[in-house]
Subunit: 412 residues, 2 copies
């Protein structure tokens, strides 16, 4: 969590971290800016000191809402720097960074560069910075990075927001269930009052509006029917009409409007009725979900134990898994879950290949077993989001029913 950052910096012997990346959405910059991502600008955090924001003069009014110390380009006489660099913005940036390092009195040593942005720019900028300021070593990081480690646990303020987003998302699921259920069928097709098919596009439009009404935004939901649902990340075809008796994978992962905390939930629905084979596979997925939750014991437990429990069960039931058949495209083809936060995918990873990841108090994670047989028209996934609370208990924060069959109660 945020309060860990100085310790995580010290462990890496970083004198400072600088978050850059221009106007791209930047979760690390948002994290250090108390939840507000300025469109552009740098965050500079010296070891042991509070982060500061450096922005263009046009951003100052928004930047001050972060509560951070805000400096503008004018505080570094950027206009003069740019003039001296004969209008070469790249050359000016290198000088500007030097002035920043000087102003914050960053001691010689390692400086960690983090953030989301243009890869091609940072690759060259690091070389130029290293050449210009040899007293510093400018470093990045792969693997379990500083901010991966910080993001792994959420503090009380974050959990409060995360629970709000969870409740709103569940409300939208309920509204979507009711919306679809209000229709009727014509043969095997779900139809609207005018007799035309209710399409996946119609449902997605409904969901996006329902999300907006509670200040959430869609980030490309999955609503995939039949064969499409058999490919875990297929989005579904907007023009397709909803059919009775076909499994639909509905994976909804909205976030706070304008960027912020995500929620992640999946349900599999069969409209009207479920064929026996579909019901059987669904029951297997639901049993896997139960096994996953029951396999949780306590903080400190390696996350891979949960995935292994699920894989063992699926394999016993005759389904291939990524352990029994690495690279399989049918059966159980993905990991069991992941951390969530300002990013939709964070650590910990709940995978049989995750060697370092353990459950911790303050985790916000998904549990999402699934089975996929696209050529049989079958894809199934059931997912709740959980937190591990201050007592070390694994608690679902997705209070929405897990019925497979969504009955139509529309006009007869």
């Amino acid at each position: 969590m945020r309060s860990d950052i100085d310790g995580l910096m010290a462990k890496r012997e970083l004198q400072a971290v600088i978050i850059s990346g221009g106007e791209h959405p930047n979760t690390i910059r948002r994290y250090l800016s108390n939840g507000i991502d300025i469109h552009g600008g740098l965050v500079v955090k010296k070891l042991g000191e509070a982060p500061a924001l450096i922005v263009g003069i046009m951003e100052i009014e928004e930047a001050q809402k972060t509560g951070l110390t805000v400096l503008t380009h004018n505080d570094f006489e950027y206009a003069q720097i740019l003039k001296a660099a004969e209008g070469d913005a790249n050359k000016a940036t290198i000088i500007f960074w030097g002035k920043i390092l000087e102003k914050f009195a960053i001691p010689a040593g390692k400086i960690g560069l983090y953030g989301t942005g243009d890869l091609h720019i940072i690759i060259e900028r690091v070389k130029q910075l290293a050449a210009m300021y040899p007293q510093y070593e400018f470093v990045g990081e792969t693997g379990m990075t500083l901010f991966d480690e910080a993001f792994v646990t959420k503090d009380a303020d974050e959990i409060r927001i995360i629970r709000e987003v969870a409740q709103k998302t569940s409300d939208v699921l309920q509204a979507t269930w009711d919306f679809i259920g209000s229709h009727s069928a014509d043969g095997e097709t779900v139809v609207k009052a005018d007799g035309s098919a209710l399409t996946i596009g119609d449902v997605k439009r409904f969901v996006r509006r329902a999300l907006l009404d509670v200040e959430l935004e869609d980030t490309d939901m999955i609503f995939a029917q039949g064969r499409d649902g058999g490919f875990p990340h297929s989005r579904g075809e907007s023009k397709d009409g909803l059919k009775l008796g076909q499994p639909i994978v509905f994976d909804l992962f909205p976030r706070q409007l304008g960027g912020g905390y995500f929620h992640d939930v999946t349900r599999t629905w069969c409209i009207g009725h479920a064929p026996e084979k579909v019901q059987k596979i669904y029951d297997t997925v639901m049993q896997a979900f139960k096994i996953a939750v029951d396999s949780y014991e306590e903080p400190g437990q390696p996350t891979k134990t949960m995935q292994e429990a699920v894989m063992t069960y699926f394999e016993e039931q005759g389904h291939p898994t990524g352990r029994s058949q690495p690279g399989t495209t049918v059966g159980y083809v993905h990991s069991l879950g992941h951390g969530v936060g300002l990013n939709i995918h964070e650590r910990p990873s709940i995978s049989h290949l995750a060697k370092e990841d353990v459950f911790q108090k303050g985790n916000f994670i998904t549990i999402e077993p699934g089975l996929y047989y696209p050529e049989e028209g079958i894809g199934m996934r059931v997912e709740d989001s959980f937190i591990i609370d201050e007592n070390g208990a694994l608690v679902s924060i997705t209070p929405f029913r897990k019925d497979l069959v969504l009955p139509l109660r529309g006009a007869q």
Copy 2:
């Protein structure tokens, strides 16, 4: 445009470009993938050959919609690589990249790395790639990059989409104008039927829904009233009620739902009536807008000539500019315009400091003069988007009125 890419690669002596960046929205990846951005994956483009997509097995169904050649991790035996790397995903990635370079038979030499993603990862990845594959030089780029150059001109397919987005955005402006106009006033405050204030939050909610209805999405519009509008990028305060006679800067820059082409337009509105001083400054901004458009002559003209014409006019009228007072926070504080496309800000830059930028056929640009005096409660900006068509003509594609006063025709 897309057809220039091989030439731009040859100019830089690049044997290949690789677009990486994980699941972050990635406009370069989208551009090379015919407008569809897969959530994750690499695009590899060898000099003289069509781009290819490499994705995880879960993404294959979406990836094939791009029309590109699609390979999956399985084609490179990634599961075995990961096992050999003892589950170390970072080490596995370096080996995986080597297999890709081998499979595409990329000749020794320079490889350009581009895209949007985690800066900290690419900084270290480049070092590891360089150490492992010394026959290649892995390079980034700053300044006017390969894709900046490509994006500068749009082809006919892109212009068609850009015009559609422009029309939809103008329709939403009209709907917003009508929505606000349908209200009435109580004293100096615009009120709803129940007598409560119509707030900026209400207007933004209306706009977001109206955008969704035409398959566009807001990307953090500006609707800033009075003093707030005097800070060019202040978003406005959602809780504030709309007031009569105060200038409101409404800068709307939506894009196609899920990512895609932007439109960029700004209007300044005064509800009910405009005080004389506000009208006078607005007339000055409108005259600057006309001067800007009239200063355009032909393709090949340096863009800075347009900004210089506007600055000269503003300075003659007694307003400080970034040329007369570098770093000024009042008067005319920003550049005149910029390219637009899959990114909201692209080249060319229309700035007095832009030394290389010239107007070209196929440009999609904004022209947006403004004046800002926050302590006087004044911010003004008027912006249309333009294309430079196949005849070299500068054509506005924002067909929406530029009236300052938005009259209320609501309940009496």
